[in-house]
């Protein structure tokens, strides 16, 4: 029974990772078309990325928007997390609902809603509009990981600092912040990954000159699906994702996802 369940779990893991393995493997092929398993091994297509000015531009925009959105999301989520864990009021559930729902609503609905209102606000086809949309969908992920850190944090430590004469802000900066810094970092990383990988929101808020990497890949899938250079970029994205997840898992107890679900 044990053996069967282990084999089944491994097969399931292979299923979950299959497309990612196919991308990573296919990007190493020496042929002019993508094939998995690859025929021969080369990093040629990864070097080729740097010759494609469009892809570099899209990658740059995605990175810039991702970093900015994740930073803003963390800055917005931290005070909310503190308010939700330190103060007990009925209004907390309203605040929680407002900040968390962007992760639950259909992203096409959100993309359209953002487009329709950001346009008359003058943010329609601007990097700022794109950034605003990304901040909205990234903040829930930052908040949920910050809440993990804050609820695991032992409040008596801060009380001790306060009773020893530290001001509230000093006690927070010197005691609480260092203790939750890893959940802040993980929250930032998750927010970054959500923004970096987001397709639908960007589809609505992008223009022909303002194209993020997922949008560029998605558009390219219609014209030249099995292009090895495209595969190399996608594989690069998958590798970044894996690194972020492994690093996050190293510092944050992912088991807490079970407590929340």
């Amino acid at each position: 029974m044990r053996v069967i369940s282990r084999i089944y779990t491994v097969l399931f893991a292979v299923f979950l990772l299959a497309p990612i393995i196919a991308i990573a493997g296919g990007s190493l092929t020496t042929t002019n078309y993508v094939t998995f398993p690859p025929k021969g091994l080369t990093l040629h297509w990864y070097l080729q990325i740097f010759q494609q000015r469009e892809s570099i531009g899209a990658l740059g925009l995605s990175l810039a928007v991702g970093v900015a959105a994740a930073t803003l999301a963390t800055i917005l989520a931290l005070p909310v997390g503190i308010a939700l864990t330190r103060f007990k009021t009925r209004l907390n559930s309203v605040v929680y609902l407002v900040i968390m729902t962007p992760a639950m609503l259909p992203s096409v609905f959100l993309g359209l809603a953002f487009l329709v209102l950001y346009s008359p606000m003058g943010l329609g086809a601007t990097p700022l509009g794109l950034l605003a949309g990304h901040v909205m969908i990234a903040t829930p992920f930052a908040l949920s990981l910050i809440l993990v850190g804050l609820s695991a944090f032992d409040g008596t430590l801060e009380n001790a600092a306060r009773s020893l004469g530290a001001s509230p802000s000093r006690a927070f900066l010197l005691i609480t912040l260092p203790q939750i810094s890893w959940s802040l970092a993980a929250g930032w990383a998750f927010a970054f990954m959500i923004s970096f990988g987001s397709l639908e929101i960007s589809l609505f808020l992008s223009t022909s000159t303002l194209v993020t990497l997922p949008v560029q890949i998605f558009m390219a899938l219609e014209w030249s699906p099995l292009d090895p250079a495209l595969t190399a970029i996608s594989s690069g994205l998958a590798i970044i994702t894996l690194v972020v997840l492994v690093v996050a898992a190293r510092f944050v107890n992912l088991e807490r996802f079970l407590k929340r679900a």
């Binding site: 369940s5 779990t9 893991a13 979950l16 990772l17 299959a18 497309p19 990612i20 196919a22 991308i23 094939t35 917005l76 005070p79 503190i82 308010a83 330190r86 103060f87 007990k88 407002v98 900040i99 962007p102 639950m104 259909p106 992203s107 096409v108 609905f109 959100l110 359209l112 809603a113 953002f114 329709v116 209102l117 605003a132 901040v135 909205m136 903040t139 998750f190 970096f196 990988g197 397709l199 639908e200 589809l203 609505f204 990497l213 890949i217 998605f218 899938l221 699906p225 996608s234 594989s235 998958a238 994702t241 894996l242 972020v244 997840l245 898992a249 992912l254 079970l258 929340r260 679900a261």
Partner: protein
């Protein structure tokens, strides 16, 4: 924990949430309210000049056979995806709930990988695997199941498989969370009273995992209802989903009010179900609480057993 009784505490709380709420009010809540308003606008003004509360757009949509066909496909394939996830993920949830240490961490990374990887990357991966000259065709021919390459893309199975891969994590984690809260002593008690492992599972563990199965199913269903890239790429142009139609209306035909009314219908179907389920859960919890506080703990336990 500070009780928000004192005015000082209330002020601190307000100061903390003021800026985030303001930002979300302007960039999140306002667009949603505006879209709801636009969905009632009359179609002849492309950006919605007039906002009389009329239901023209909705009645027109609900009489549109093309639209209904796409809605039906979206609902049908979402139900199939949910069922497939429930069946195939349940055993994995059992393993996740029992795993510890680095094995559990590895499982979590594998589960979160499809969620965190951009959906364009994973659908692209399926294109490579399922193509005519792809790996799956080669394997099926090699094993002798097929004698020549078949078209594995642009059909409904491809959509369901692709959605399952992306959304499994929600089912596994929801069910595993419920399974973790099952007291192992209950299973031990049942076993010592002579229950077979099989019957201990069905009569003790499985009923207690049902809330998790419900949460997971709702999440998977609503997320596949609103899926965009997976059905778009794996299903091809013939097998459209509602999300694709909304994008097409808004960005190619520039009919924002019509797109808005479709988007609102999509929102009602997906989020409405989640809301109803959470309301039902709260109602049940409230009734249990009341029963318990009235000293009727026995009734509550038997209710929970029956549910």
């Amino acid at each position: 924990m500070i009780q928000a009784g004192s005015a000082r505490a209330r002020l601190q709380w307000l100061l903390l949430i003021a800026v985030p709420l303001l930002v979300f009010g302007v960039f999140y809540c306002a667009p949603i309210v505006n879209l709801l308003r636009l969905s009632f606008a009359i179609a002849d003004s492309p950006t919605g000049g007039s906002y009389l509360p009329r239901f023209d757009l909705y009645t027109k949509l609900l009489g549109d056979e093309y639209f209904l066909e796409i809605v039906w496909r979206t609902v049908r394939l979402s139900v199939l995806t949910t069922l497939a996830c429930a069946i195939f993920c349940y055993p994995v949830s059992l393993v996740v709930a029992q795993s510890r240490g680095w094995a559990q961490t590895c499982l979590f990374i594998v589960l979160l990988m499809p969620l965190m990887t951009s959906v364009t990357v994973t659908t692209y991966g399926w294109l490579i695997l399922l193509g005519q000259a792809g790996f799956i065709n080669a394997v099926l021919i090699g094993v002798g199941i097929l004698d020549r390459p078949q078209r594995l893309l642009q059909n409904e199975t491809a959509i369901v498989v692709g959605l399952m891969q992306v959304l499994s994590v929600f089912m596994v984690l929801s069910v595993a969370a419920a399974l973790q809260s099952v007291d192992p002593n209950h299973v031990r008690a049942a076993r010592s009273l002579g229950a077979s492992p099989w019957s201990a599972f069905w009569r003790i563990v499985f009923p207690q995992s049902l809330p998790g199965l419900r949460t997971g199913s709702l999440l998977v269903f609503s997320l596949s209802m609103s899926a965009y890239a997976t059905p778009g790429v794996l299903g091809g142009p013939r097998l459209k989903f509602v999300s694709f139609l909304i994008y097409q209306q808004a960005m190619q035909l520039l009919d924002w009010p019509r797109a808005a009314s479709m988007a609102v219908l999509l929102l009602i179907v997906t989020t409405g179900m989640l809301g109803l389920a959470s309301a039902y859960g709260q109602l049940k919890a409230w009734r249990q609480q009341r029963a318990q506080s009235a000293g009727l703990a026995m009734t509550a336990t038997s209710q929970a057993g029956a549910a």
